[in-house]
Symmetry: C2
Subunit: 599 residues, 2 copies
């Protein structure tokens, strides 16, 4: 995407007009984070994404990362852009001042992450992984560990990783083999091989700090025997100075479909020195504390790709002349009409737009919930936020990344054959974002997390809390005739959502496979209803602004048109999902495994 434009106006709409971040910030000790300050930060971040990251995106894909003698060279310009990012103070935006950060809210830093990813998904993974590493050490490290590692990570002169996957275990971390032996000095020696380590080795920073899950010698089998360690590429003194090289080596990098500028590494630990973080054997629980944030981050990557694809498709649809409109010439002086006159091209553009803007609203709402869990002081409000976040996180992760596949595919489709060649950047978007439904927990994993762990695990309580919020909102619109069709459509989906949940629960009581059989359709159903809720809210706000005489009539009227499109043509996708859910598990499970074969 050479011509990426950060969607600042829409981000301001969602954060400040739809979700009232200003009061939200004031309530959470960020009274100094004014709308003007947010706007100024958005503008700076937008410029960085547009002018520094977007221009090196295509060559990042073409050059990819190079691996030689254990070292990784990132594509031209990646290192320079990273240094610019560090100089701009971006790494520490939302981290505490005691480690050199700027102590701004989580949600503010995360909103920008969408644009960095939209401009250059591969590049954005390096700082993105560091954030995960920082959060882990901040949440679970002791004071000595924080002092040793955090200042340089927050400054950005070091970067971080998360080392989970091994060749034989991805989702099922209970099968983990990497082991950690205690050393006499209180540290540990880690031995094992990790795969798919993003940013595991590169040339951008002075040190790389790996968060590694491994087993202690006497650890119980399965997920209850996993501990968390911090293992730096270069050993670090207690004061945070770099010492000698640790026994951590990059064994190779993967050749992948996309995000080629992001080094996906095999990382070998050969008795490497590491430090235990948190309690022994409690590693997975520690990881789960920031799992919500990591998964929302992946959802944002999907959102980012959807928006970038919309931008690219829209530009082409207005420029490319091909055929006349079915209703007569719209560009009589030209040899043909721009293809945006064709209904099916508009269907694709509106799908992208409805997804990008609706998904952004859902994502920002979740960031607000994260803020509440991090900074809230009212225990009830905090618990409610945690409950909603637990429910919505797998939806955001999977729905935003699954719909990104459609949006980026339309990005290519609007271009016709031109979408398939590298020049326009549309095929790169599709390739880059394809990973998002797989890493950080596949869609299937998110779906079972939602349905089995969150919804059924809470006996429907987590779902009820969120449904009540939407129902309450629908009730508040009772007297608003303009929106009654959409409000009714949404309200009847709420009833249905609860009904299918009950039905699945009942069926699963005798056959647990019913959960897996319904799970992905159930997640997508939940996503369409949730985004419907945000489209209704956005439409109401837009109408208010128009009624108040806003001069930005096009912006707000476009919201109303897009909401209509969403309710007419996208929320209705629940019809097929419900049919599939209701058909039960038997049509999946009754065929014996031996009958699955190629012949």
């Amino acid at each position: 995407m050479q011509d990426y434009k950060a969607p600042i106006r829409d981000a301001m709409f969602v954060t400040h007009e739809l979700l009232d971040f200003q009061s939200h910030y004031a309530r959470h000790g960020f009274g100094d984070v004014s709308e003007d300050l947010v706007s100024a930060i958005f503008n700076e971040a937008g410029k960085f994404a547009e002018n520094s990251l977007a221009p090196i995106n295509a060559n990042g894909d073409q050059e990819g990362c190079q691996f030689e003698n254990g070292e990784v060279t990132t594509p031209s310009g990646f290192k320079q852009a990273y240094h610019q990012y560090v100089e701009g103070g971006w790494p520490g935006l939302a981290h505490p001042e005691e480690f050199g950060g700027q102590a701004l809210p989580y949600s503010l830093g995360t909103t920008l992450a969408e644009w960095f990813s939209a401009a250059n998904h591969a590049w954005a993974m390096y700082p993105g992984l560091s954030q995960g590493c920082i959060k882990t050490i901040k949440a679970h490290g002791n004071d000595e560990q924080k002092k040793r590692f955090l200042p340089k990570l927050v400054e950005g002169s070091w970067t971080g990783t998360m080392c989970l996957t091994e060749a034989h275990c991805g989702s099922d971390l209970g099968m983990l083999k990497c082991r950690a032996e205690p050393a006499e000095d209180g540290s540990y020696r880690l031995t094992g091989s990790k795969i798919f380590i993003s940013a595991g080795e590169h040339d951008m920073s002075d040190n790389i700090v790996h968060i590694v899950i491994a087993r202690l010698p006497d650890a119980p089998a399965g997920t209850k025997g996993i501990s968390l360690f911090v293992v730096p590429k270069y050993n670090v003194s207690a004061d945070g100075d770099i010492e000698d090289r640790n026994a951590v080596q990059c064994g190779s990098i993967e050749h992948k479909m996309g995000i080629k500028g992001s080094a996906t590494c095999v990382i070998n630990f050969d008795g490497a020195k590491g430090y235990l973080i948190g309690e022994p054997n409690r590693g997975l629980a520690c990881m789960f504390t920031f799992m919500n944030m990591a998964r929302i981050g992946t959802g944002l990557e999907g959102l980012a790709a959807s928006d970038a694809a919309y931008q690219g498709a829209l530009r082409y649809a207005k420029d490319r002349l091909q055929f006349r409109a079915l209703t007569g010439k719209k560009n009589p002086d030209g040899p043909a009409d721009p293809i945006i006159v064709h209904p099916d091209v508009r269907r694709m553009l509106l799908t992208q737009k409805a997804l990008a803007e609706g998904n952004r609203a859902m994502a920002c709402y979740c960031m607000q919930l994260v803020d509440e869990t991090l900074y809230g002081e009212d225990d009830v409000a905090k618990q409610t936020a945690e409950a909603k976040l637990a429910l919505l996180t797998p939806i955001v992760k999977a729905f935003l990344t699954e719909t990104a596949q459609e949006a980026t595919s339309y990005g290519m489709q609007v271009y016709g054959g031109h979408g398939y060649i590298s020049e326009w950047g549309m095929e790169q978007l599709a390739r880059d974002t394809r990973i998002c439904t797989m890493y950080e927990g596949t869609t299937g994993i998110q779906a079972i997390d939602l349905l089995a762990r969150k919804v059924m695990g809470s006996k429907g309580e987590l779902l009820s809390v969120f449904i009540e919020e939407i129902r309450h909102y629908c009730s508040s619109l009772r007297d608003n005739a303009q929106f009654s069709a959409w409000t009714n459509a949404l309200a009847s989906h709420l009833d249905e959502w609860q009904q299918i949940t009950q039905d699945i629960g009942k069926a699963a009581a005798t056959n647990p496979d019913e959960l897996g059989a319904a799970s992905v359709d159930y997640l997508m159903y939940s996503g369409y209803v949730t985004v419907g809720y945000f489209w209704l809210k956005m439409a109401v706000v837009a109408q208010q602004k128009l009624d108040e005489g806003s001069t930005e009539r096009d912006f707000y009227e476009a919201k109303l048109h897009t909401a209509r499109f969403y309710f007419d043509r996208m929320l209705t996708r629940t019809r097929s999902l419900v049919s599939s859910i209701q058909s039960g598990a038997d049509n999946l499970m009754s065929m014996p495994e031996a009958m699955f074969r190629v012949e």
Copy 2:
């Protein structure tokens, strides 16, 4: 796909058990094409696909084509495989003996095309394009032209292309600029530049014969002023011998998302010598005569990718151990269960299987119709076949390629993160097949061809003919209780199909945009119903075979299980499509173009 296996058993099932190709061949003058002969040819073709094409597929992607000084080098092994293909006599399989062919039926040669494409999509495009060129010359060339070009093309020592697209016109060929000036010797001199010419230049054959559309000096504007020419890379004597180089040059090749082993060329004609084929200004009409075959061919590429993705996903799903089944251990001696025990993995596998097998049945049915149009002697039967083919061709092209996107995406998804790395071949399948919804007429173009040109253009007649066939089949099952649920589901879809067609027609009478607004959803709806028809038929045949005591119980029972999956979870996708269709054009067209913008 290093481990591709040609689906010979299933092809025999579809052609000989479902569609009774044996009687069909006997009725059309191919009485000597026995089931044994077909089986022998299938086996040979399968071996070629498995042993010669599949092994060079991955390196074809990695090496790609190289362009230097106007010449294209294909990836290692491509040339050798092509020579093997020629030595095997495959190019002339379905062409007349007078030009050196083997005069076997069109449908026989085309069934194999699926496997060549599944094993190596990029490679298969070279011979595939030649087929289009041969058919054009055969149908519209004069005797002199046939003698000059056909023997070497049929033999395979020359290859062919179709040169249609120019930079400013893809779908809208009326804007074509390439021109042809008459020369004194009765030939023409062509000048202009064509883009996206597959197999436009390469190192496999002694000559390349381009079919080119261009304008004569006094041609009317638009599509009514397009003529068809044959323009060889090397000039050819009347006897078919190669002479001097013609003024045809490859200007560059494209860098694309996939099919990297297929050279996509810019071809520049600089006063190149060419021969008019067919009547002046009737070029597009000539092209349309084999458009059905070309589009079915593209549909087959989609089918091929779906089947290859199924094969790859299935292998992994049986091998990869991750988690225990929700219903308890299935592999108690291993550290975890194979992931095929998980309902959502089965959902993906069954979706691929139902698409591959259902789509194969639809495609082979269309090949049978093509046979009828080519070899039939009964005028009524011929006209009926032409009517059905006109209706089904855009469906086959678009539905088989759109569903291939889902099937190949699941190919990756079943592998999790491993699906994203090149090693397993799944990501290449997804990239390679992505072109199929764009070239040879995008899905949008197919959809408007179906709804506006075929269905409305015939006042519903073409649709009625096909619906009557299905209705008749449903009636024949009236007393069959085992299949009543599926028969009823299908029958109610037929009523609905006609109803929505009428509704769209009525709405379009006052607003032509209604056609475009409904078109793609309508096409997909039509596809799901049509494949439902073939799944019902396949289930009935499978049950008959079981009732007859077949020893292949697993094969036939798997058909019944898969049919059930299709009716329960795939035909029901029509519910959302109908909602979207019924919502009309206004939700797409009412938003002014100026409101589409990025901000």
